[in-house]
Amino acid sequence: MTDAAALTPPAARPAGVPLSPHLSPRIAARRRGRHRAEMRFRLYGLAALSLCALALIVLLASLVWSGLSAFWQTHLRLEVEISTRHVDPTRPQAGDYGGMLRAALEARFPEVTSRADRRRLHALLSSGAEEDLRRMVTADPSLIGTRQRLWLLAGTDVDMAVKTGLSRVAQQIKEGAGVRLSERQLEWLERLSREGDLALRWNSRFFTAGDSRDPERVGVLGGLVGSLLTLLVCLALALPVGVAAAVYLEEFAPRNRFTALIEVNIANLAAVPSIVFGLLGLAVFLNAFGMPRSAPLVGGAVLALLSLPIIIIAARAALRAVPPSVREAALSLGASRMQVVTHHVLPLAMPGILTGTILALANALGETAPLLMIGMVAFIVDIPRDILSPATVLPVQIYMWASGAERGFVEKTAAGIMVLLAFMLSMNAAAILMRRRVERRW
């Protein structure tokens, strides 16, 4: 095809200059109008494209804008006395670490005496701080009996206040806006901040923890592992079946009604809404076959059915791209049709097939709706271990955080999306690299 851009119309003339002595002024005016219409049309096209680009930029920028802060989490520095009063050195697992932390807070703010104020004081720390301390002492019981200056995880209200800016929160409290911190708590935070004991620190928990009810304690690892297991099941089911189906249809199938039926089916399945596959999974895999709910096995099976048509279409295109001369040469040397396919055509088409498969998997990675149907939306704290344990996947995790009521979940949702997009991007990049590497022209 020739280049369409080469056919640009003649450059517009300056207004007033006659186009040609033969043209009547009326025609000349009309022609100027037509050229203006041409410019307008061109602008509409450019504007449409720019609007699309703008939408993409706004989308990504707003995600980064609202999600970046989730990678840092507010911590308080306190001097904690790991005394034998709270923990028995022989059984460090069972110590009263909450009491230890409360004592540390009260030691830091000795003027706080009333019951209500003490409760407010205790609310500054997250329950995750207790968890961290327990893990630390259990790992190293020699700490018992010592005093440690530790950075401890702050609660979500403190975190939100620090991220908004303490002075702005003070302003909001004065205006009577709905702030979840009291004036006293803010004073304590300001004091800690002045003394350098309140800081945003890298949130490594976000990459090592599973889900939680508290926004400051959530992590993506559970969803990430769940997604990985689900994708592995999907790959193990969809790739062999998809390649086999593509080989049959492209290399062996006779042209008859049955083949035509299969082809229409595949084309249609590629456009069936994904939620319908979820209904299929629920009715067939869960209710008829009695497979366990929330398991990556079922999720992977549903996603395999979903991505099968896409893989078949990509694999057929890759097989078709192998030139007939390869087949003819092999056949002329006496190979059977099956040998032609397994020894020559399939190895040559494999890079293309794998590229298409990775793209289909990247697509499956983002699927949410069908997995809601088969119960992968449960609240699961533990990191899934195998394909039968209850799990959730990254997009469903994002959906659950997005519907979380606490304000702290907003940044976590956006951060989770950033992780998901990074995951997808690396898959796509792998596919593109592979295509570059192995692209060959016959």
């Binding site: 096209g45 989308l59 809404p273 209904l279 099968l308 983002g366 949410t368 997005a402 998901l420």
Partner: protein, 461 residues
């Protein structure tokens, strides 16, 4: 359990490998003895291996699919009278409960002794069924091995036999696509029929109020809600129309500019950049709609003195439109470029400007393909779930005002089936009826689009 299942599969594969080895050895020995074989030794190996592995793996899959049903039937037959006397739908609920306890998804505390006994029985039966299945699979493997080994002879045309088997497997794999469609249609239709046994079809298709009962309590069985799905259909169409009004002008103009005006280098960047829009998961768009677009739409509307719902159809539709722009632009771009150059040249040579050529010659020539792209995009908009779940809400209104809150078919399918369900209530079953409507609506649109696209391709080939 997955460990031991993996061991079983490994055992079958090991048997198949053994079969391969023994088959190949037979052929090599026969050759060494000076016999002429009709195939290479490796095919004798594959012949035995396929007969060992294939039937037993197939059997294993079939057994895995049916064993739970068998176990449930046996369990039902043995239930103590206090449980067996329950009405059918309560019984189904009880069975789900038993299974949940057995899988560790529900706490065992507080369950009645009958239920606990049934849990024990269920676990025992399941263990038995698993052992039986494994015995079956292993004996099939050994039997297949023995059968194939007995067939081995220097006159066996091993390559033909192997190729026929492989072809059969390939055929079976391509039938999976048909099986999937059949599975979808059957599961949707059977569950929908159960729904229509409770709620008349007339009410579902023409009723104007949708409020499936929300609280599930075990004592409260049967439907007390209203199941008129018209508000859902109307909401789906409204959001779909808003989405199309967004994506068709933008996508089409972008496609025209990219295929007719853009320098090759810009095009090479712009096309993949647009495809990114289609690659972003819909849950991300849903969050974007919820977090950014809905408040902005609302603020603008309020500034203009309009009443805008917090979850307006406009916000959801706009974002959905952006998501499906690539569906329109990419396909349209392809069909516009497929219009033969001679048509453009003819028009330009008659003195038409390029814009006139495009609007009067190129676009009309490409129209069937463009219409197919638009129909496919509309079908995608109807079936899109996450954006509307997150940005459109559950208010079932009939309106054509895009500033109101509406809800869609997909939202209700998702919401009705999330979480634990009582599988026999009209509420749960209604999701399948909605799914059936959605499936046939998108099927019709897809078939029309496929037909148009094929006709278009034939025209210029």
């Amino acid at each position: 359990m997955p460990m031991s299942a993996a061991l079983l599969v490994l055992a079958i594969l090991a048997l198949a490998a053994l079969g391969h080895w023994s088959g190949a050895r037979f052929a090599r020995r026969a050759r060494a003895a000076g016999q002429r074989l009709p195939a290479l030794p490796v095919y004798y190996g594959w012949y035995v291996a396929l007969w060992t592995g294939l039937p037993s793996l197939l059997l294993l899959v079939l057994w895995a699919a049916t064993q739970d049903w068998l176990v449930r039937q046996i369990l039902l037959a043995q239930l103590p009278p206090t449980l067996a006397a329950l009405p059918a739908d309560r019984l189904a609920l009880e069975l789900t409960h038993i299974r949940n306890i057995a899988y560790g998804l529900a706490p065992a505390q507080g369950a009645s002794p009958e239920v606990l006994a049934a849990v024990g029985e269920y676990l025992r039966l399941r263990g038995l069924a698993r052992m039986a299945g494994w015995g079956l699979a292993l004996s099939a493997a050994v039997g297949g091995l023995a059968f194939a080994a007995a067939q081995l002879s220097p006159r066996l045309r091993a390559r033909h036999a192997v190729e026929r088997l492989v072809l059969l497997v390939l055929l079976l794999c391509s039938v999976v696509a048909i099986l999937t469609t059949v599975g979808i249609v059957l599961s949707l239709i059977t569950e929908s029929l159960r729904f229509f046994a409770r709620v008349p079809a007339g009410e579902f298709f023409f009723g104007l109020t949708w409020s499936p009962q929300t609280a599930i309590r075990a004592e409260q069985v049967g439907a007390s809600g209203a199941f008129g799905a018209v508000p859902l259909f109307a909401g789906t169409l409204l959001i779909g129309v808003v989405a199309m009004l967004t994506c068709v002008p933008l996508g089409l103009m972008a496609a025209v500019w990219m295929s007719e005006y853009a320098p090759a280098r810009v095009r090479d960047i712009a096309k993949p950049a647009l495809e990114i829009l289609a690659g972003i998961p819909s849950v991300v768009y849903g969050f974007f709609a919820m977090l950014i677009v809905a408040p902005v739409v609302r603020d603008i509307g309020t500034a203009l003195g309009l009443e805008v719902a917090a979850q307006s159809a406009l916000a959801a539709g706009l974002v959905m439109g952006v998501m499906i722009i690539p569906n329109v632009s990419s396909l349209s771009d392809d069909v516009i470029r497929a219009v033969p150059m001679s048509l453009r040249e003819g028009s330009l040579s008659l003195g038409a400007t390029q814009a006139e050529t495009i609007t009067r010659v190129v676009l009309p020539a490409a129209l069937p393909g463009i219409v197919a792209a638009v129909i496919l995009a509309f079908s995608r908009a109807l079936g899109e779930t996450m954006i509307v779940v997150m940005a459109a809400g559950l208010a079932a209104n009939i309106t054509i005002n895009p500033l109101d809150a509406v809800t869609t078919v997909t939202v209700h399918i998702a919401m009705l089936l999330v979480g634990d369900q009582e599988f026999d209530s009209a509420k749960t079953l209604s999701a399948f009826a909605l799914g059936l409507v959605l499936f046939f609506a998108t099927l019709t649109l897809n078939l029309i689009a496929l037909h148009l696209a094929r006709r278009y391709r034939e025209r210029y080939d």
